[in-house]
Amino acid sequence: MKRIKSGINGIDILLQGGLPEKRTVLLSGSCGTGKSIFAAHFINQGLSMGENCVYVTFEESAHNLIDNLGSIGMNFEAMEKAGKLKIIGGAIGNIKFFKEKTKASAKDMAEEIKEVVLEIKAKRIVLDSLNLFLMLFDTDTERRHAMAELSSVFENISCTTIMTCEVKEGTRDLSWYGFEEFVVDGVISLYRVPFENMFERAVSVIKMRGINHSPNIVALQIRDDGIHVFPTKAPFHKIFG
């Protein structure tokens, strides 16, 4: 199976080569674990290899996203102007407004993402975050249907996709609504656990269909230049003890 670089060396080592190409991966973690930065590394890696990318955000506006990532050395603005990167979406409140105004369905929104991907022939997609996207729908049935529509689109467009997903603080959950992790090809979990007078971060690959991967929970740090993963280093604390 062909692998592509995630943009974080330690993750590629945990995955024994990189992310499987054209698959969908759920990146789950509670608040502040580094999901968006991780996803940005993934996009940045694609852009540096000449691949066009799409970033679908429900967390913040494109302008804020570009500013925040610029502070860790990722120049998404230039890439967007060059047409190699498309950032769509925006703050969830705005998206909800437009969704209600246009009476758009999950299929309409999934097709919109597909249109943008096909327009620039993107190879990598980030959806940040999946739980905010699902929050646009009122019932559990609608959310499951929305997830199915999204999965169907991602399968058809042959891109490697990372979807971030927030989970409740202090739990072992892999998703917000409890079904997202079953629909994707892989799950990478980010942790943030109190240790002494600070929070320590860690990462582990929970599942990745079709490839061997390390089962270990390893240390992760967010520094000025982004995420660093230490594939041979266990975190300093007992995570589940």
Binding site: V56, I88, G89, G90, I95, F98, K99, T102, K103, A104, D108, M109, E112, I113, V116, N156
Partner: protein, 192 residues
């Protein structure tokens, strides 16, 4: 649960039922309700443009078309064609072919569901292109249309009906493409 008016199976059943009622219960339905340019344009029998799809020449013609509409309706359901495209392509193709053919050759009699059926097939070939690529499905259906004339050694009536089927197929494709372009896209993530 789908709303009833979006249920294409209901429409297929209605079409089949009306066709059966016309054939079995209305005596002389072919002469009373089939379409021809002479009767429509010269005798001003305007109802024929609405009734002719439900009229059939013989029991074989009726059963063939009812079976075809059954199969096509399941295919249309599978690709989520929608009632609007299903009915729109069916009636638009039937109407246009009858009006044009009736003006060009007023003497010929036009009846049956098949032009509308081929229009639905044309629409399915576009809507279902995620599952079956266009470069396979379109030539496949086009070839199916030409088999009958070849087998019948190019008998005039068979060639004519195959031509109508082919035009229906093309009109079905044109209908769904036109509707797709006419209906404004609902943009949420990247509003214009």
């Amino acid at each position: 649960m789908r709303k009833w008016f979006n249920n294409i199976f209901i429409y297929a059943c209605v079409i089949a039922l009306v066709s059966c009622i016309s054939f079995f219960l209305i005596s002389g339905s072919l002469s009373l309700m089939a379409f021809s340019g002479e009767m429509f344009y010269y005798s001003l029998e305007f109802w024929r443009i609405i009734t002719f799809p439900f009229i059939h020449v013989d029991i074989g013609h009726l059963l063939q078309n009812i079976a075809a509409i059954g199969v096509i309706t399941f295919l249309a359901y599978e690709v989520n064609l929608g009632a609007a495209i299903y009915l729109g392509s069916f009636f638009t193709a039937s109407l246009l072919i009858a009006l044009v053919a009736g003006a060009v050759v007023p003497a010929i009699i036009i009846a049956g569901l098949s032009m509308g059926i081929y229009a639905i097939i044309g629409a399915i070939s576009i809507k279902g292109s995620n599952f079956i690529p266009k470069k396979i499905i379109i030539p496949l259906f086009a070839a199916a249309v030409f088999i009958e004339p070849v087998v019948s050694m190019f008998e005039a009536s068979v060639v004519r009906s195959s031509a109508f089927h082919m035009i229906g197929f093309i009109l079905g494709i044109a209908f769904i493409i036109t509707v797709k372009q006419a209906v404004p896209k609902r943009r949420v993530l990247a509003p214009a």
